[in-house]
């Protein structure tokens, strides 16, 4: 194993802390359908960083983080104000706030950099992030903020869960949904400002959305999604920061985001039930089952034309009855393994079990085509208004 020097350890630890908090708190935002709110908040934080520096002439992480947090918060207030006081839709309001605040931040940043004072150097790392600049006290600040946010999340877990799932029902029980909403947004702001210096305002929202999107693939429980998102976030943060700090001079934010995106890609493909590979395998299995049933029925149809229902027919005859003739051979092999057909005189015949199965299939099919069976009683389902009379 590679011996990590102090700087690298600090960097990896800091990135893991930010990934943990942004991943787990981001899960709440994603499940609420507010994935893009994180993007607006992180962009809106930039002018806050610049103003905090202009007002205090300090680059202490806590000062800049407070500035970023306040600006991000004002950004969310602006989004709410635009949505409530105009007919501008939510996504457009996000776009407006994001670009206006980011533009303001860029203007302030350019102004600061034009000043002769040498102490301004380094503020531009807030754009794309720089983990290499992380020192011990940064990590402590991040860890304390993250711990506060995570504890708040756990304390109000059931209230937040109800707010996420069914806000009207929460309000009907007397929960102050407005205050909870503000609280949840505040936690999101905290999660974002923790990562700003390392990941940068431009890409921070990816660390809010990606771990949660990946985690949702693997579990069907809220605590599972939150815990896994935290884990994915921490892993992406640490490995991305290490890659960027040790390898070529690539910026940290993009590297972390690429790692997180890789985790999302793997999850989308390989997750057991929701994954694309699993869906693809299900499709193949279903088609195979249909082909097996279809060939068995074809053989039964042919046999019905003879005195002997076990009369053998060549595969070529069956091939003329299907849209995929090349699949008939393997399908017959499968039927033979199941003991439903047997080869006889270079042709195929139904076995006794095959005949029973074919009759069962034919009966099921007849039921499906019998209009009398489609009534409400038979299907246990009342026809809906507007639904065609089949």
């Amino acid at each position: 194993m590679i011996e990590l020097d102090y700087t690298l350890r600090t960097v990896a630890l800091g990135a893991a802390v930010l990934g943990l908090s942004s991943g787990s708190l981001g899960a709440f935002a994603v499940l609420r359908g507010q994935s893009l709110l994180g993007d607006a908040i992180s962009h809106a934080a930039l002018p806050g960083v610049a103003l905090a520096f202009l007002l205090t002439a300090s680059k202490a992480p806590l000062v800049l983080v407070v500035g970023a947090g306040l600006a991000g918060w004002v950004g969310t207030l602006c989004v709410s104000a635009v949505v409530e006081r105009s007919r501008v839709p939510y996504d457009a309001a996000l776009g407006i706030v994001l670009s206006v605040f980011f533009g303001l931040g860029m203007v302030l940043l350019t102004y600061i950099q034009s000043q002769p004072d040498a102490s301004q150097a380094g503020l531009d790392t807030f754009l794309f992030g720089q983990a290499a600049a992380l020192v011990g006290r940064d990590v402590v600040t991040m860890a304390v903020l993250g711990a506060v946010a995570l504890v708040a999340m756990l304390v109000f877990w059931k209230e937040f869960k109800l707010l996420l799932f069914d806000p009207d029902f929460a309000a009907s029980q007397g929960l102050p949904v407005r205050a909870l909403d503000v609280g949840l947004t505040t936690l999101l702001v905290i999660a974002i400002v923790i990562g700003l210096q390392t990941v940068g305002v431009v890409l921070m929202s990816a660390l809010i959305v990606a771990p949660a999107a990946a985690a949702r693939q693997w579990t069907d429980r809220l605590w599972g999604v939150v815990a896994l998102a935290g884990l994915f976030g921490a892993l992406s943060g640490a490995s991305g920061a290490l890659l960027s700090a040790t390898g070529a001079r690539v910026p940290t934010g993009p590297t972390i985001v690429l790692v997180a995106t890789f985790v999302v890609g793997v999850s989308l493909l390989l997750a057991p039930r929701r994954g694309l590979v699993a869906a693809w395998a299900r499709g193949i299995r279903n088609r195979r089952v249909l082909r097996v049933a279809g060939t068995l029925e074809d053989l039964y149809t042919l046999a019905l034309a003879h005195e002997d229902v076990h009369y053998p027919h060549p595969a070529a005859t069956l091939q003329t009855m299907t849209a995929r003739p090349e699949a008939v051979g393997p399908t017959l092999d499968r039927l033979q393994r199941q003991g439903l057909v047997e080869p006889r005189d270079d042709a195929w015949a139904l076995t006794a079990r095959g005949l029973a199965e074919a009759r069962r299939l034919a009966r099921t099919r007849a039921d499906e085509h019998d209009p009398a069976r489609l009534g409400a009683e038979a299907t246990g389902r009342r026809r809906q208004p507007g639904e065609p009379d089949r």
């Binding site: 209230e159 799932f165 069907d220």
Partner: protein, 267 residues
């Protein structure tokens, strides 16, 4: 049946959406122990009325009292079944968890549902015939099963007044019968149940009271008194999809829910 305080007392209720009145000067007194249908055409304000009684919408004017007191003092006495389509059923949670949400109001802040709450939630699931589904992810449920889960969640609230928004929406015949039985049992226990309903055909069979609504209150009272052709015409503006009395009421061609060519979503 001595004179009692009304379970629900709505006076002069007006609710507007962008200057457009959705409910206009509605008065409604519902006595305790009544099973009442709220009917009216699409956009009549049925959902708005329920949400206003629950304090979920800002009122332009009016007053709502539940069991003789302002709603704020009666939260624990009111249970709510929202429209099934109002939540994301792909939300990562289990059936039991959703039912447990009905205990949150009583639990208060921070306290987690414990063994007692779990037992009550299981019991409620049993009552709606969903005991075997407790650990299921909610996305795996059919529409009727989702509706039963919402009903179970309202049952654990153990309230005196139940407000239900289209509990029969998109459920199968078996579930519909099960729900009706449940509603009638609640009434027999002395609870008051208000149900937004679409199938005029079944109003006299299922309910003992009815409110006909179309932005304004058209009529409200016992079904055999106010569920008349004249009132239905007033509520549905001449295009009555059903006749309350007369020989054609038994016409089998009229069977089936109200079809207006529009989706059955109240505003």
């Amino acid at each position: 049946m001595s004179p009692r305080r009304p379970a629900i007392d709505v006076a002069d209720l007006t609710v507007a959406y962008r200057d457009e009145p959705v409910l206009w000067d509605v008065d409604l007194r519902v006595p305790e122990g009544v099973l009442m249908a709220i009917v009216g055409p699409n956009g009549a304000g049925k959902t708005t009325l329920i949400k206003s009684i629950l304090g979920l919408l800002p009122m332009a004017a009016g007053r709502v009292e539940v069991l003789g007191a302002p709603l704020a003092d009666r939260r624990r006495d009111v249970a709510y079944v929202p429209q099934r389509g109002s939540v994301d059923w792909d939300f990562p949670t289990s059936v039991l968890d959703v039912v447990l949400m009905g205990t949150y109001g009583r639990l208060g802040w921070i306290r987690r549902p414990g063994a007692e709450e779990r037992a009550r939630a299981s019991e409620a699931l049993e009552q709606v015939g969903m005991a075997d589904f407790a650990d299921r992810q909610i996305a795996q449920l059919s529409g009727g099963q989702q509706q039963r889960v919402f009903l179970a969640r309202a049952l654990v609230q153990d309230a005196a007044v139940y407000l239900m928004d289209e509990p029969f929406q998109g459920v199968d015949a078996t579930t519909e019968r099960a729900i009706v039985t449940l509603l009638q049992r609640l009434r027999e226990e002395g609870k008051t149940v208000l149900v937004v309903h679409h199938d005029l055909q079944t109003v006299p069979e299922y309910f003992d009271w009815v409110l006909l609504l179309n932005v304004r209150r058209i009529a409200a009272g016992p079904v055999d008194e106010v569920f008349t052709d004249a009132n239905l015409r007033a509520a549905y503006g001449g295009r009555v999809p059903f006749q309350a009395g007369g020989p054609s009421a038994a016409d089998p061609a009229r069977l089936g829910p109200v079809a207006e060519g529009a989706p059955l979503r109240a505003s």
